[in-house]
């Protein structure tokens, strides 16, 4: 049921006619995103009743109040680059495109945090912060992902987690338009004392904002956020260059900045590699690190395939690097520090029977951009086969994550062997120690499938059924990461399924949702409803 003219007019009166639309042609540009084919069996999620572009927190508030009055679902997003960004529980829902709210409000260099609006993307903040010797902890969504989206609202880890933490731990403040239309600013922001802590007075309301995953737009609108910044040892400006005729994706930083080193260390086994990750974390030497597939990307898939074939002909297996290699970046303000970190790394590597893989300088620069700034991740996710899915994924103690990896490999391999997922020789994995391994590992097992190939799609669904089966072999590895997103698609009801086996967390989440949103207007399809329908 669409909006009535009165309801539409009420919303138009808030944002102005140029910032609202209910034209089907416009609306259908807000219901298509990656992953949809798997989730909705078509590229389209529910068509919104209208899309609005608010320009301020005040407009957001007014919109939300109108939604409460008229009982209209709403859901905000910034870049909209997340599988559940547009999912609406029904057609009587509106989407809020926060594109107009795009200011970097403050970079407090001394106290190392930045305050931004929702449409500021990660790379833009990175480049501004770099001028001051700082960067933010980014996520695998890459440069175009939203700072607020990644920090506050969604799930996602990144290669810098070893030195920047992740999954919400860098949030130092938010301004939050609640689903009631009230505004909550957390911590020092509410007390107008700056943006340096979100906690208190008393209990930290960051606990309501997000957990391992965010609420995916289901708990209101974050209109400002303060994020912690971390040291950047490179130059204030970076430049990518290439020989004439090379397209932008082939450009590289001319060299790894002098105060960094980029390397790949190979180990004789995956267990040795995991062990090394533990010790590298303990040694507190890495700026970015992942046990990961290091894949030659090339200008396009055909070029990529050519390189892979050349590698195969030369007897080089990138899959070995994938399962037994660690890509990492060391950084320090001084050469002394860098030398120590490298010496330390070599000692750890040697203890585990590993050693560095020689990489040409241009590849080192590529690795640096990938590991520090997540260049290449979008290519990896979408160009190869059309889509990707992360499952099983978990955050936990290293040995537990190694167990997960072993089980995940076994589970995923048959799909790969049958050609239903991209055959990499081994399932792709991202594993990152968090906070120098003081909080365990973040692990993602990634499958690359073609959603438009019925067999590949069926395989993906089959795999997710297995990996997210509350009675299956992965039930111990945590609540599936998309949160309530799976309320509305083929796997039934994550919270209902996992709540009872995870200490009834769903009971509390539902109560929180009911508290935040008594009229149930914050779209819950990727979060949780107050009462399960």
């Amino acid at each position: 049921m669409a909006l009535t003219d009165i309801e539409y007019q009420a919303l138009e009166d808030i944002v102005g006619p140029e910032n609202i639309s209910r034209e089907p042609a416009i609306l259908d540009t807000y219901d298509q995103c990656w992953g949809h084919k798997a989730v909705f069996d078509q590229k389209f999620s529910t068509r919104p009743a209208a899309v609005l572009l608010p320009g301020s927190s005040e407009e957001c508030q007014a919109i939300v109040k109108a939604c409460n009055r008229y009982r209209i679902l709403f859901k905000p997003f910034s870049s909209g680059f997340e599988i559940v960004a547009f999912a609406l529980a029904n057609e009587r829902g509106i989407l809020l495109d926060l594109k107009r709210m795009d200011r970097i409000l403050e970079i407090d260099v001394e106290n190392m945090h930045a305050v931004v609006e929702p449409y500021v993307n990660i790379y833009r903040l990175q480049r501004e912060a770099m001028k001051h010797g700082l960067v933010m902890g980014s996520i695998g969504a890459g440069p175009s992902g939203g700072v607020i989206a990644g920090s506050c609202c969604h799930f996602g880890g990144g290669t810098t987690m070893v030195s920047t933490g992740g999954l919400g731990r860098s949030v130092l403040g938010v301004e939050w338009v609640l689903p009631t239309g009230d505004v909550l600013s957390m911590g020092t922001a509410e007390s107008e004392m700056g943006w340096f802590t979100a906690d208190g007075p008393g209990p930290s309301l960051r606990g309501v904002l997000r957990g391992r995953s965010g609420s995916n737009g289901g708990s209101g609108i974050i209109t400002k956020a303060s994020v912690k910044l971390y040291p950047w040892y490179g130059p204030p400006d970076i430049k990518f260059t290439a020989a004439p005729g090379v397209p932008p994706s082939g450009k590289r930083i001319s060299e790894v900045p002098p105060n960094y080193k980029a390397m790949i260390i190979m180990f004789p086994s995956q267990s040795a590699m995991f062990e090394a990750l533990i010790n590298i974390g303990k040694a507190e030497i890495a700026s970015a690190l992942m046990g990961a597939l290091v894949f030659p990307y090339g200008e396009g898939n055909d070029e990529q395939w050519a390189v892979i074939q050349q590698m195969a002909a030369a007897g080089i297996s990138f899959t070995q690097v994938a399962s037994q290699g660690v890509a990492l970046i060391l950084g320090s303000d001084t050469q002394r520090g860098l030398e120590y970190k490298e010496k330390c790394l070599m000692e750890i590597a040697g203890q585990m029977g590993g050693g560095p893989v020689p990489i040409p300088p241009s590849d080192q620069a590529g690795l640096f951009a990938a590991a520090m700034l997540h260049f290449g991740f979008v290519t990896a996710a979408f160009r190869r086969t059309g889509d990707f899915f992360v499952s099983p994924t978990s955050d936990g103690s290293p040995d537990f994550m190694l167990n997960l990896r072993k089980n995940a490999e076994q589970m995923l391999k048959p799909y790969m062997e049958k050609g239903l997922f991209q055959q990499l020789g081994i399932p792709e994995m991202f594993v990152m120690p968090g906070e120098n391994n003081s909080i365990g590992f973040h692990e993602e097992n990634v499958s690359f499938y073609d959603p438009w190939d019925p067999d590949s799609l069926d395989a993906l669904r089959d795999m997710v059924h297995k990996s997210e089966d509350p009675n299956g072999q992965f039930r111990s590895y945590g609540v599936p990461h998309l949160g309530g997103g799976l309320q509305i698609e083929w796997v039934s009801h994550v919270h209902q399924n996992f709540g009872p086996i995870y200490d009834n967390y769903d009971k509390w989440m539902r109560s929180i949702k009911g508290m935040l949103d008594p009229n149930g207007v914050g779209d819950w399809s990727a979060y949780i409803p107050a009462i399960f329908p």
Binding site: N19, S21, E23, P24, A25, I26, D28, T29, Q32, C33, W34, K37, K43, F44, R47, L53, S79, G80, F81, A85, D97, R100, Y123, R124, R127, G142, P143, S144, A242, P244, V246, P247, P248, S249, K251, G300, N301, D302, E303, W305, F375, V378, T379, A381, F382, R383, R384, T385, G386, D387, M416, G419, F421, Q422, Q423, Y449, D450, P451, W452, D453
Partner: protein
């Protein structure tokens, strides 16, 4: 091709939004990172390339029909291809070619903007995009002693283009260019009043038939005149002859050059000597049609195949045009060879250049948008400390001037030809 042929690409758009920005690898100053004028100016996602993928797919699936909103998003686009370059840093899909197909579909379905209708009517009647009279086309060359290609043969054909032919204010530039060639002893001729449009701008508006028509005519005319080299002072025409004709299988059997390429040769071999000082700090605006759009067309016929189980490749391998193989260095070398000139680069240059605003029928239908886009470019030129903005296309030149008339910040604007003249 048909819209259906792009279905696979439509499905593939992941909504990464790279199409809204210049490639991240190319971003320098964070105040100048937007790449798509439409997405920058108009807020809905529909105005970005991804939005066009989405709308096309919805249209194909009969979820939407033609509408003002659909038309507005499709036509408020300069067809500049910046989105295409950015998208292809992470994907193997063709946003710009979709736009051509989409506009073609719009025209087939009668969804034509009245302003475009006017322009195309003029084209059909008078063979130009300026709503001028055919008989007046050659007036720009009045008084210049040059071969008439309708009567004589010449090795080099100088094609003025519609903009230069009818925009009197720009005549000194096109006259100057021709005169340089004549004085250099080049065996050059023009078609004068019998010169016709290349058809490129019409194609970009969706009128594919006009492209074919003028391609056929041009090939005949080139043959009849015994031309070996076709030289263009206008980037639009250059790109059309070099790329668009090739795309439809009508590649001219002659060397197609932009005037800067020809001047470069003459400077390099010493025929032209640039001796006078031109003390000026300039920045060079890469015209879309000389830069990223001028990357040679790649013909490919084959099929999609899957390797490694599900990785999408092509048989034979398909080389995608990703914008880096346009003409970027030659104009810069020409500028740098002018004594006294200091060249500073804008933040968005080469394959990431911000469009001047004139292309894709936008100047015809949405002049305010065209002017705004040019104004943004002027802002960027001033931000890098340039005193003058130099381009290599009549449409760019005109649009910068119009923008300043409309209130944009003021800056000196030149074509490379003018600078060369100053130095001779």
């Amino acid at each position: 091709m048909a819209l259906k042929d792009f279905e696979h690409d439509m499905q593939r758009c992941s909504r990464c939004s790279y199409c809204k920005w210049i490639p991240f690898e190319n971003q320098q100053n964070m105040d100048f990172i937007k790449g798509c004028p439409s997405a920058a100016r108009y807020n809905f996602h529909a105005y970005a390339a991804s939005g066009k993928w989405n709308m096309s797919y919805a249209f194909l699936n009969e979820r939407i029909d033609h509408s003002d909103a659909f038309q507005d998003a499709v036509y408020r686009c300069m067809m500049d291809g910046c989105c295409d370059v950015s998208c292809k840093t992470v994907q193997d899909i063709e946003p710009l070619q979709l736009m051509y197909e989409l506009r073609k579909k719009f025209v087939e379905d009668g969804q034509i903007l009245p302003e475009h209708m006017l322009t195309i009517d003029g084209l059909k009647k008078e063979d130009n995009m300026m709503q001028g009279k055919k008989v007046d086309r050659g007036k720009w060359a009045k008084g210049i002693k040059v071969k008439d290609l309708t009567k004589e043969k010449a090795k080099v054909a100088f094609h003025a283009g519609c903009r230069y032919s009818y925009d009197e204010e720009l005549w000194p530039i096109v006259r100057g260019a021709l005169q340089i060639l004549i004085d250099a002893g080049v065996d050059v001729g023009i078609w004068g009043k019998d010169e016709v449009c290349c058809g490129g701008r019409a194609e970009s508006m969706g009128f594919a038939g006009e492209l074919t028509k003028y391609a056929d005519h041009t090939l005949e005319a080139l043959k009849a005149a015994g031309v070996e080299t076709l030289v263009n002072p206008c980037s639009d025409c250059y790109q059309c002859y070099k790329v668009e004709y090739d795309k439809i299988g009508k590649k001219p059997p002659v060397e197609v050059l932009h005037i800067t390429e020809y001047l470069h040769r003459l400077i390099q071999d010493g025929t032209i000597k640039l001796t006078k000082q031109v003390p000026l700090t300039v920045t060079y605006h890469d015209p879309c049609h000389l830069g990223r759009l001028a990357e040679p067309w790649v013909h490919w016929e084959g099929k999609e195949v899957k390797v490694m189980g599900q990785m999408i490749c092509h048989e034979p391998p398909k080389q995608f045009r990703r914008g880096a193989r346009g003409v970027y260095d030659i104009p810069r070398e020409v500028i740098k060879s002018i004594p006294g000139v200091r060249l500073v680069e804008m933040y968005r240059n080469r394959e990431s250049a911000w469009c001047c605003g004139a292309g894709g029928g936008v100047k015809d239908a949405y002049p305010e948008f065209a002017n705004w886009t040019a104004g943004e470019r002027i802002r960027e030129a001033k931000a890098v400390g340039a005193k003058a903005l130099v381009s290599a296309c009549g449409w760019c030149r005109r649009n910068f001037m119009d923008a300043m008339e409309d209130g944009a910040a003021r800056i000196e604007v030149y074509d490379i030809i003018e600078l060369v003249q100053k130095a001779m």
